[in-house]
Symmetry: C2
Subunit: 154 residues, 2 copies
Amino acid sequence: MKNEFMQKAIDLSVESVKNGGGPFGAVIVKNGEIIAATSNSVTKDNDPTAHAEVNCIRQATKKLATFDLSGCEIYTSCEPCPMCLGAIYWARLDKVYFANTKNDAKEIGFDDSFIYDEIAVPIEKRKIPTIQIMRNEALIAFRNWTAKEDKIEY
Amino acid sequence: MKNEFMQKAIDLSVESVKNGGGPFGAVIVKNGEIIAATSNSVTKDNDPTAHAEVNCIRQATKKLATFDLSGCEIYTSCEPCPMCLGAIYWARLDKVYFANTKNDAKEIGFDDSFIYDEIAVPIEKRKIPTIQIMRNEALIAFRNWTAKEDKIEY
């Protein structure tokens, strides 16, 4: 089954290139069934967050009407970039299968490796200047969150 | 102006808690004007990717009808998690201002620090099992991408 699910993700990546999208596909599986199947739609949707994995997580959570994908696995045609890996952790997926690597992605012109490097670098050395201001003012929302008794945690 | 923009992001984070959302807000500014203003809507939208920054990037790119936010700055009430930092890089924002830190977020129960740690760890040591299969089959989409002459790069 594993190979069938990955083949579906790969098929989506190949189709995507034909249709003018990025060369990436993903599926999410629950109890042995595909519940979401997507490809990269960054240029089609004018949405830089519309990677195959993010699209797939959004499709699956919409379908299941929950933000928690525990019990699900994702098959992605390429190693997730940091954005997608973050999304996978927030979605609490059980397992990740991938095919192409971030270095394969780098070789065809995608920034995945660069962003992995940037995340590991201290804030003051990042290529995108990143500046902290107004922490004292912002902490109030965190204190209110802690004090709120009926909050929905995620 | 910087402090005004951040205050708006903070106001959104405080409002969000009142409305049952996570304690995070963000705005994107272009040429001295706010073009997008959002808060975290993970639980409201059943979407684990709906962090304030991702929502803000999606709102701004929709408004400007482009996936490229060069020339724009983001003000976020909390240091971006890896998912949001990845989104910021993919969107090619010029600058990031943040207020609360990832450690502040950790102290009120959010996984940002954990995900930063996980990204830095080799794949075989990640808490979410991550397995490579079928690279040879998947590379075809990458070769097709390279060969495609009329592709829209991003």
